[in-house]
Symmetry: C2
Subunit: 81 residues, 2 copies
């Protein structure tokens, strides 16, 4: 199974990296940008029997290691190969 | 318009961060993982007239700033709000 995990800062958390990227893009002439939010993207290859099992594992991985639940939220998708 | 950009290392490029995450997950008991690849995820809010125009802008942003074309590849999607 292949899993894709998207980790983003919660809306209420300031994102200085995103602000910096926004200003860098503006200085390159991209003036139509309202907001930039930076996140993490994780691709996992899993050796599990079923899609459901893979989804459970990925949920646990996110809760235990990949995401910081205090400031981040995550979503994921599992694709059968 | 809302754009989501996914930036990943090229397949031929070593990903030590992904290897480290893989080992950390293994030490937590997740043994069914074959590979972990870390990437970046960028959410952009754009003030453009059309979806096509937004896609052109995002393509340019990726080429000029967001991704390093030597070692990274990118894909993106633009969603009308």
């Amino acid at each position: 199974m292949k899993a894709r995990v998207y980790i983003t800062l919660k809306k209420s958390v300031l994102d200085p990296q995103g602000e910096t990227v926004k200003h860098a893009l503006a200085s390159l002439g991209f003036n139509s940008i309202e907001e930039v939010r930076m996140g993490k993207y994780v691709e996992l290859n899993l050796n599990t029997a079923s899609k459901k099992q893979a989804e459970q594992k990925v949920q646990q991985m996110c809760e235990q290691l990949l995401a910081n639940p205090v400031i981040e939220e995550f979503r994921y998708e599992v694709i059968s190969r």
